[in-house]
């Protein structure tokens, strides 16, 4: 906006304002009605949905699913959409930071005098696109269940080692399932494809030692399983054994 347009705006706005109604009581009445609606919605949600408490936080537990509050789903889903491990920092921090900076600086790069949405095609299209993208990612986040079951056929090289190996494999599969790994990793047909890499053939890519190291010292955002290895070394060993057997 140049100086002339600014003055024109202030003049027009002054005229509109002088023809308006006083804030009190007209706008205050509308705001109060809205406040009553907001209050009613909050009270109704509290009565209908309650404030249930899950089981107590247990750092050593293996049954959990890291699931944020629903309005963070779109940020979390970004991790699934941007898959290659090298780009994970881009998804976790890069894209949100860039979007936030763009949001902060919006009035400084969109300086046109036009205010009607239908005459600002770029801004309106971008706005609708962002709304749809956030809505779609939130829907994906809500739909992506935290699976706690992994059905994987016992590989031939395990079943050939006798029933003990098979039992260990199945116990490990259960530990992995209960630990919520499938919330971020894919195991064959089970689990979500991202943010973590697919673990369907992880045993072929990494030896057991390396898998164990990753479980103890993972790269963010994966949580560490060092507490599990201290509390319950057998379960941890079964977990490593199961993952190493996936070939």
């Amino acid at each position: 906006m140049n100086k002339e347009q600014k003055e024109q705006y202030l003049r027009d706005y002054g005229t509109l304002k002088s023809q308006g109604k006083p804030f009190f009581p007209y706008a205050v009445a509308k705001d109060s009605a809205m406040a009553i609606v907001v209050m009613a919605v909050i009270i109704a949600m509290s009565i209908v949905l309650g404030a249930e408490l899950g089981p107590k936080a247990d750092p050593t537990s293996t049954t959990y699913t890291p699931r944020p509050e629903w309005y963070f789903f779109f940020l979390f889903e970004l991790l699934r959409v941007i898959k290659p491990p090298a780009l994970v920092p881009l998804a976790t921090i890069g894209v949100p930071t860039i979007c936030l900076i763009l949001l902060f600086l919006l009035p400084f790069y969109d300086r046109g005098p036009e205010r009607r949405p239908e005459r600002r095609p770029i801004a309106t299209t971008a706005g609708i696109f962002v709304v749809c993208a956030i809505g779609y990612l939130t829907y994906l986040g809500a739909a992506a269940g935290p699976p706690t079951q992994i059905d994987i056929p016992v590989p031939a090289n395990v079943s050939s080692q006798g029933p003990e190996a098979v039992a260990n494999f199945e116990a490990g599969s259960q530990v992995v399932a209960q630990s919520g790994c499938a919330a971020c990793h894919k195991f064959g047909e089970n689990g979500n494809s991202g943010p973590g890499p697919s673990l369907t053939k992880i045993g072929a890519r990494l030896p057991a030692q390396a898998i164990q190291r990753t479980l103890l010292n993972p790269s963010a955002p994966m949580p560490s399983f060092s507490a599990l290895s201290e509390e319950s070394p057998t379960q941890f060993a079964q977990m490593v054994g199961f993952l190493a057997a996936l070939k």
């Binding site: 003049r11 205050v28 107590k56 509050e69 976790t92 921090i93 036009e114 709304v131």
Partner: protein
């Protein structure tokens, strides 16, 4: 050319002056009692001069054509106030220690009078506030209300949005159940992947390299002292700017200057 000063008009030309000897103001005990409210307000105003500011804020004009979309901002503020009040009541019973937090929430839910109701209001109120703040931002965006002269108010609004998200992130840990614990661990780890400040930020949030006993009290301090204070202060500035610059008119409303101010078209005969 020097202008002749007009004499000041009498403040109220219709009321006739009192007769000489008659006292001004109310008389008798009842008269003074009836004026007590006015006297008290006058006493405060004489020392603070607040009435001018109040009149300025309350009786400013709002342009023609403002609709229900314009109540979203105040609705967001109202949701924040509701969060503040319910939060105070929860803070009376909550214990931000890793060993007692879960039990104190259980106590609120099961034993405190209306405890679960207030807890539920606080929990779902956060969702309502996030929805309202996004709707308010959407209205501002699509109506082009962030343009001159309201750029600064947009920037403050985005800061308020970030703080609201910080509030819900830090509050999510406080019940200290499995869901909140593990979600927060992953959330803090995600922060840690950020460039430059990332590792320091997640270390600050965890109060150390690992998730420990002080993490919870740190989140509690952030959730109920640091961020709400900043939100309240910025909200005050946001509102001041709204009153100062005025509520925007819907973009499709055209300004029609009043009849008497319209320029007359002068036609000159050739």
């Amino acid at each position: 050319m020097a202008k002749i000063k007009l004499p000041a008009t009498p403040s109220n030309p219709l009321s006739s002056p009192k007769r000489p000897g008659k006292k001004y103001g109310p008389s008798g005990v009842m008269g003074h009692a009836g004026e007590a409210g006015v006297t008290a307000v006058d006493w405060i105003d004489e020392r603070t001069s607040l009435s001018g500011g109040l009149r300025w804020a309350m009786f400013r004009k709002v342009p023609k054509g403002t609709n229900w979309f314009y109540t979203l901002g105040s609705a967001t503020m109202f949701a924040f106030l509701s969060q503040a009040v319910t939060g105070v009541f929860l803070a009376m019973y909550y214990d931000p220690s890793a060993t007692r937090a879960y039990e104190s929430i259980q106590y609120i839910n099961n034993d405190v009078f209306l405890g679960e109701f207030v807890h539920g209001m606080h929990r779902w109120g956060s969702s309502v506030m996030v929805i309202l703040i996004f709707l308010h931002m959407g209205r501002t965006f699509f109506f082009g209300a962030y343009k001159y002269p309201r750029e600064l108010n947009w920037v403050i609004g985005v800061a308020l949005l970030v703080m609201t998200m910080t509030m819900s992130f830090s509050g999510y840990l406080l019940p200290f159940d499995q869901r909140s614990y593990w979600a927060t661990i992953v959330g803090v780890n995600i922060n840690g992947t950020g460039p430059l400040v990332g590792p320091y930020l997640s270390e600050f949030l965890r109060a150390g390299p690992y998730f420990g006993a002080t993490t919870l009290s740190r989140f509690y301090a952030i959730h109920m002292l640091m961020v709400p204070g900043a939100i309240a202060a910025l909200m005050g500035f946001h509102l001041y700017l709204v009153a100062k610059l005025g509520t925007t008119a819907p973009p499709w409303i055209k300004a029609k200057p009043p009849e008497e101010l319209r320029e007359e078209k002068v036609t000159v005969d050739p």
